[in-house]
């Protein structure tokens, strides 16, 4: 395939190349002619000559390329025939129902769907190019058995064989949360074959995206939330949003297909939303005071998933790198640490507890940042139509708002996932934590008793001073009048 493409490209490039040489000669001749002040006819003659020369050369080259191409085609066809012959030999047995007993006592099917396989892109690849173990030794028999611990282990092992041809996709996958989880030994995290049937691969364009597969296999709750959302409904009914040319998003539009990342970390989600909703800032600016700040610290779903449970989410932020601080590989039980910090946060500064407990390098410039988030991934997908979005400012900007909030502590795990733990609500009104969370301030939502008392005093003075002064004057005058009498 690669050889053919390369040849094809060369052949296509040759005439262009020759024309380019001719053009250079032509322009060179013209310039020379102008410089030497020779008659224009001479230059023209030279140019015609050059063109003719170039034409002859091109014809000769084209003849050679055609011959080479023909030969290459023959070679590829021969090779393909050979591969298919070998594969058919494998399929003689493996197209039938066959199983293998695994070490875990379970049976694994060895059956390959013959027609689908031969018709697929993988049909042109030799079986043993992926099943290398078979290629290296004789076909397993009673004497040469290949022991396989489990079907999962077999899939993980064979995952590497995809890399050879699908290097770019494999690299993307390697940077994903899915890959990180596989490396961690997570039994459910997907390998290539979890989404793509290796014996009957189909182009992603043929995927029935609306069915939610393959994502739904693991993320069913989220898929259900999505289908009920404005995005899901638009996609399922007519596929477009408000008759525009833009298709409503499916999973991969936001999460990508191979480089899957957790969107809820940092600014990723907002950037993703804005990628389609380009005029978001402008639209919010039209009515929302401090729109920029709101877009910075309030996650889209907080207002656009009106029934979602919200939380005041605290996370450590690496100011030097400009990204949320992620835990490193092999860090001591994150879960326990976080839970302890979350529960202790009620009386102290989560940032300090976090630092001392977790031992964050003091040299790193870290701060505690806060955002309004929805409580769960499911909630984040329950995006409603714009008309249902929360527009009552009071839902956040009301006195005692901080005390009513759910509070979560969040960290990015080494594999790039977001992990949150519920913390004590008291942390938001804790004096010790005041400095750490000072970047988050909801106007009208942060009561301060001292200021309330001062206001009452001021109001009292505003009333008492005039009344007092007036009354005092009246009393003095009356007293003086009595004295005069």
């Amino acid at each position: 395939m690669l050889v053919r493409n390369f040849k094809g490209n060369t052949r296509a490039a040759l005439p262009v190349f020759i024309m380019l040489i001719a053009f250079c000669m032509l322009s060179g001749g013209a310039v020379y002619a102008a410089q030497a002040e020779q008659p224009a006819a001479n230059a023209k003659a030279a140019a015609v000559e050059a063109q003719e020369e170039a034409k002859t050369g091109a014809e000769a080259n084209a003849a050679v390329t055609a011959e080479e191409d023909e030969a290459a085609k023959d070679a590829v066809a021969a090779r393909l025939e050979e591969i298919q012959k070998k594969n058919k030999r494998c399929l003689m047995c493996h197209s039938r129902e066959k199983t293998k007993l695994l070490e875990n006592g379970k049976e694994m099917s060895l059956q390959v769907p013959k027609e689908a396989y031969l018709d697929s892109a993988h049909g042109a690849i030799s079986c043993v190019s992926c099943h290398k173990a078979i290629g290296k030794i004789k076909h397993p028999s009673k004497s040469t058995n290949i022991s396989i611990a489990s079907e999962r282990e077999f899939s993980v092992e064979l995952n590497e064989s995809c890399r050879k041809c699908h290097l770019q996709k494999y690299k993307q996958y390697k940077g994903s949360v899915h890959y990180a989880l596989v490396q961690q030994g997570n039994e459910k995290a997907p390998v290539c074959s979890s989404c793509h049937n290796p014996h009957a691969p189909v182009s992603m364009a043929n995927f029935q995206a609306e069915t939610g597969l393959p994502c739904k296999n693991c993320h069913e709750n989220i898929y259900n939330a999505y289908t009920a959302s404005v995005h899901g409904q638009a996609r399922l009914h007519g596929n477009t949003i408000r008759d525009s040319h833009i298709q409503a998003p499916i999973c991969s539009d936001c999460h990508h297909s191979h480089e899957i990342t957790a969107l809820a970390i940092g600014d990723v989600l907002r950037t993703t939303c804005i990628a389609c909703h380009e005029n978001v800032t402008l639209l919010h600016n039209q009515w929302l005071p401090n729109a920029g700040t709101h877009l910075d610290i309030v996650s889209c779903a907080v207002c656009h998933a009106p029934f979602a449970k919200r939380t005041f989410d605290l996370h450590l932020y690496d100011n030097t790198a400009g990204v949320p601080l992620a835990m490193k590989e092999g860090d001591a039980p994150i879960q326990e640490q976080l839970q302890a910090i979350a529960s202790e946060g009620g009386t102290g500064d989560p940032l300090e507890i976090w630092k001392s407990r977790y031992g964050v390098d003091k040299a790193v410039d870290i701060s505690l940042r806060s955002r309004m988030e929805v409580m769960s991934g499911v909630a984040a997908h329950q995006i409603a139509s714009k008309s249902f979005a929360v527009r009552t400012c009071e839902s956040c900007h009301e006195p005692g708002w901080r005390q009513k909030q759910n509070v979560t502590l969040t960290i990015t795990t080494p594999e790039g996932m977001k992990q949150s733990f519920e913390a004590d609500r008291e942390v938001l009104s804790s004096v010790k934590a005041a400095e750490s969370i000072s970047d988050f301030y909801a106007l009208g939502g942060n009561p301060n008793k001292i200021l309330d008392i001062l206001l009452l005093l001021s109001l009292a003075a505003g009333i008492a001073v005039p009344i007092g002064h007036f009354t005092l004057g009246k009393m003095i005058r009356e007293y003086m009048e009595r004295g005069e009498r």
């Binding site: 009515w287 401090n290 920029g292 700040t293 400012c393 009208g444 001021s458 003075a461 003095i476």
Partner: protein, 223 residues
């Protein structure tokens, strides 16, 4: 001046004759003062609504914030009327008629004594209101602090909260949004009593309406 008609002797002549009166407040000052007064009341009401919106149900939070912002910009523009007028008018002497500290303190003390006692006995104010020296020392110092320090701080903190993102650097330098808001609220608290007491003291002129009339017409009867 005693030959001039008075309100009691000839009310009609008194109204028509300006000879007996002093032109204390030129038009720009009067425009500024009343717009500012309306603005302050609106800002205090909407501000109170923003801060204690669970206790009032006059308007939504959104309306309160938006009204507060618009009125604030009007008040800021109006402030320039005041500043411009006094910067380019010789009436600026109202704010510093004489740079003599001893005299200032003596006069200030006399003024305090007047308001706390003399006024009740029917004494005359120790300060005589005249066009280029209309403020008593207490007014002069208070208004200068208010107009050149307190009000600009209120404008600045208000602007910062109007567009937090634009001013995030300054806000961070000041110690965060909570600090900025607390300053803004403290000044608001000050203005609550200031406005009320200011209105009451306005009624402590020669007659209760003297100063109000002076602020509407510009003229004050010479006493």
């Amino acid at each position: 001046m005693s030959s001039m008609p008075t309100e009691q002797t000839n009310p009609e002549a008194w109204l028509k004759t300006k000879d007996s009166e002093l032109y204390i407040n030129p038009l720009p000052v009067r425009i500024w003062h009343w717009l500012n007064a309306l603005g302050f009341v609106a800002l205090i009401l909407t501000g109170t609504h923003i801060r204690y919106q669970d206790k009032f149900n006059l308007m939504t939070f959104e309306t309160a914030v938006k009204t507060h912002n618009w009125v604030a910009f009007a008040v800021m523009a109006n402030y320039l009327v005041w500043l411009g007028f006094y910067l380019f008018s010789d009436r600026i002497t109202n704010y510093h008629p004489e740079l003599n500290m001893k005299k200032f303190f003596d006069k200030a003390f006399a003024q305090i004594m007047y308001y706390s006692y003399g006024i009740f006995k029917g004494e005359k104010s120790p300060h005589k209101v005249v066009p280029y020296d209309k403020f008593n020392p207490m007014q002069s110092i208070t208004y200068q602090i208010v107009m050149l320090l307190v009000v600009p701080i209120q404008f600045a903190t208000g602007l910062m909260m109007w567009d937090v993102k634009r001013f995030e650097g300054v806000i961070a330098m000041l110690g965060g949004l909570e600090v900025v808001n607390t300053i803004h609220v403290l000044i608001y608290i000050f203005f609550v009593s200031f406005t009320m007491i200011h209105a009451y003291m306005g009624a402590l002129g020669h007659t209760p309406v003297t100063h109000f009339r002076e602020m509407f017409t510009g003229y004050e009867e010479e006493h």
